[in-house]
């Protein structure tokens, strides 16, 4: 189901003037806090009413300021998973899950309680109260509650932001399954590059209420200079690879991408499985001659296609490795002394242990 959004909304001194389109899958609204991503999500949900704009979901018009159409939130059938879960404290988990079904007409109801419970692994929580749940459990119940209302679109506003790393790792696979199995388009608000890399089909980058870039995740993640500050360290390109084999003796797996073969820590997946790999820009070293005698296991030949802003000590360099786009972060000094120029053939060197924690590898979006 397609989603088309174009809104202009003033809120205090802040102006949101943004638009994007999604054909399905998982669309990440990415930006730092205050960039307008939650305001945009709220506009889609009907929790605010933009002064101007059009929002269309499939063939349903949710908002059209010119024709004075505004469908209220309760008639939009858009599930919303909030950052703070917002479970009803006076209802058990079971009744929280059932809440949406009380207001869904039978012919529209598609969600099966058993399936949702199974998908999210919350069967043992049904008779508990929300106050007795951990943060991760709450978030899973909140996702289940939204799904049980049989939504046509699922909005998730930083569902992992309030959780620690362990809980994030616990929930990410559920969201991946949701994206791949539930068939409901998802709009996912996030300011964490790692989540974008792991989950996104489409990325919409927001800054100061405006869309600065949008497109397929691989393309956006391979663009230069869109990540600033802390996020810059997390920037990196996405590669769609296939698991070509295992080397159990070294506890490694081999991934095959158009760019070349990559050795990564052993993956618990069958040979032939598709794997999306994120290569952080700061983990990529560049060489202008074929390197020799290195401990680094992955050497990908390519050609420089773009060089980013050169006003700081670190510069983003984009490479084309047989069609795969990679980003490397190198010093400005290296740019000047090697020198690195657009068009020059180079070799990208990536240590296998860059992927040691496994968080950069997941199923393709």
């Amino acid at each position: 189901m397609s989603l088309e959004v174009r809104v202009r909304h003033r809120q205090g001194g802040f102006l949101l003037d943004a638009g994007f389109a999604s054909a399905g899958g998982l669309t990440v609204l990415f930006g730092r806090s205050g960039s307008g991503k939650t305001t945009l999500a709220n506009a889609i949900a009907g929790l605010n009413r933009p002064g101007e704009g059009v929002i269309r979901l499939g063939d349903t018009v949710l908002l059209d300021s010119v024709r004075n159409i505004f469908l209220p939130a309760h008639r939009r059938r858009i599930g919303y998973v909030f950052q703070d879960a917002r479970l009803f404290p006076h209802l058990s988990v079971r009744h929280n899950l059932a809440y949406g079904t009380w207001f869904t007409r039978h012919r529209e109801a598609v969600a099966e309680l058993d399936q949702v419970i199974d998908l999210l692994g919350i069967g043992h929580l049904l008779d508990r109260r929300p106050s007795g749940l951990s943060g991760g459990e709450r978030q899973r119940v909140a996702i289940g509650r939204a799904l049980m209302a049989s939504p046509r679109l699922l909005l998730m506003d930083e569902p992992l932001a309030s959780l620690d790393e362990a809980r994030k790792t616990e929930i990410l696979p559920f969201i991946e399954r949701l994206r791949d199995e539930a068939g409901i388009p998802i709009v996912y608000v996030s300011h964490a590059v790692a989540e974008v890399a792991r989950l996104a089909t489409t990325v919409v980058v927001l800054a100061d209420g405006q869309v600065v870039r949008s497109g397929p995740a691989r393309q956006v993640m391979a663009s230069l200079d869109i990540f600033q500050g802390q996020e810059r360290a997390e920037a990196g390109a996405l590669l769609d690879t296939e698991l070509a084999g295992h080397e159990p003796a070294y506890a490694l797996s081999v991934l095959q991408a158009p760019a070349g073969r990559l050795l990564v820590p052993l993956l618990d997946r069958p040979v032939g499985a598709p794997v999306r790999l994120r290569i952080r820009a700061r983990d990529v070293t560049l060489a202008v001659r074929p390197p020799d005698g290195l401990s680094a296991q992955n050497i990908l030949p390519g050609r420089i296609t773009a060089i980013g802003r050169t006003d700081g000590p670190v510069v983003d360099v984009q490479l084309d490795c047989a069609g795969d786009l990679l980003i490397a972060q190198v010093t400005r000094r290296a740019i000047a002394t090697l020198p690195l120029e657009v068009g020059r053939p180079v070799f990208a060197i990536v240590k296998s242990i860059s992927f040691a924690d496994g968080s950069d590898m997941g199923p393709p979006a």
């Binding site: 009907g46 939130a73 309760h74 059938r77 917002r86 404290p89 006076h90 809440y99 009380w102 207001f103």
Partner: protein, 231 residues
């Protein structure tokens, strides 16, 4: 109890219980509505409504009673209209005592309910909306259960206030045994006659017992509700 209280005293106790109960139940829907308007409403005249509701709290009860007499008395404009059109008479009837008690207790009920409405996390109501619940259903399934402790507290406060109301009641509907002589009026009367102390003391004990029972009952109820809400 029959042997312990004289029939007149017994009548006064029962009348007081009836007046306080009816006053509380009748005020509840209005109290809920006004509390909702004051907590959530944005309309011109909101400050005026707030003042009007709280007026009985600060006015001398005798003044409130007298104003009721001027409005709902038999020859007063509203009173005569109600009597002719609907056959409803307040003046010097037990229904008048109900009206006086309800109005005197109203600000207490509204305050308690309003505070609990203001404490409701509106983001929960938003969440209910995104799950497909019409605003009326959101109120019934989310807001109302969450403010139940406030409603219970408001009703208990209102009941206790109505039970003890004296000034406005005696001014508006006088002190007619069997009709408008409530517990406080009966105690007052007994203190005014020779050898009335024993009867007054018995009624005082009854009043203390009822009030304490109401308080303990509300506390137990509130605890159960809090437990259910899981707060």
């Amino acid at each position: 109890m029959d042997a312990w209280l004289t029939p007149e005293e017994w009548t006064a106790v029962l009348l007081s219980l009836r007046v306080a109960t009816v006053a509380t139940l009748w005020s509840l829907p209005f109290g809920l509505l006004v509390a909702m308007l004051l907590a959530r409403g944005r309309f011109p005249g909101r400050a005026l409504l707030d003042t009007l509701v709280h007026l009985p709290l600060v006015l001398p009860p005798v003044v409130t009673g007298y104003l009721l007499l001027l409005t709902f008395g038999r020859r007063a404009p509203v009173g005569s209209f109600l009597a002719e059109q609907f056959g409803i008479v307040f003046a010097f009837r037990w229904t008048g005592a109900v009206l006086a008690c309800a109005i005197m207790a109203f600000p207490l009920m509204v305050r308690a309910i309003r505070l609990s409405i203001e404490a409701v996390d509106r983001r929960l109501e938003q969440a209910a909306g995104t799950l497909g619940a019409h605003p009326a259903w959101v109120f019934l399934t989310v807001t109302l259960p969450l403010i139940l402790p406030g409603i219970v507290a408001g009703m208990i406060l209102s009941f206790a206030k109505a039970l003890g109301e004296f000034g406005a009641t005696i001014t508006f509907v006088s002190n007619i045994p069997g009709e408008t002589q409530t517990l406080p009026s009966a105690i007052y009367t007994l203190t005014q006659i020779p050898d009335g102390e024993a009867g007054a003391m018995r009624l005082v004990l009854v009043a203390v017992a009822i009030s304490m029972a109401a308080l303990i009952g509300s506390e137990l109820l509130a605890r159960r509700i809090q437990h259910r809400i899981g707060a």
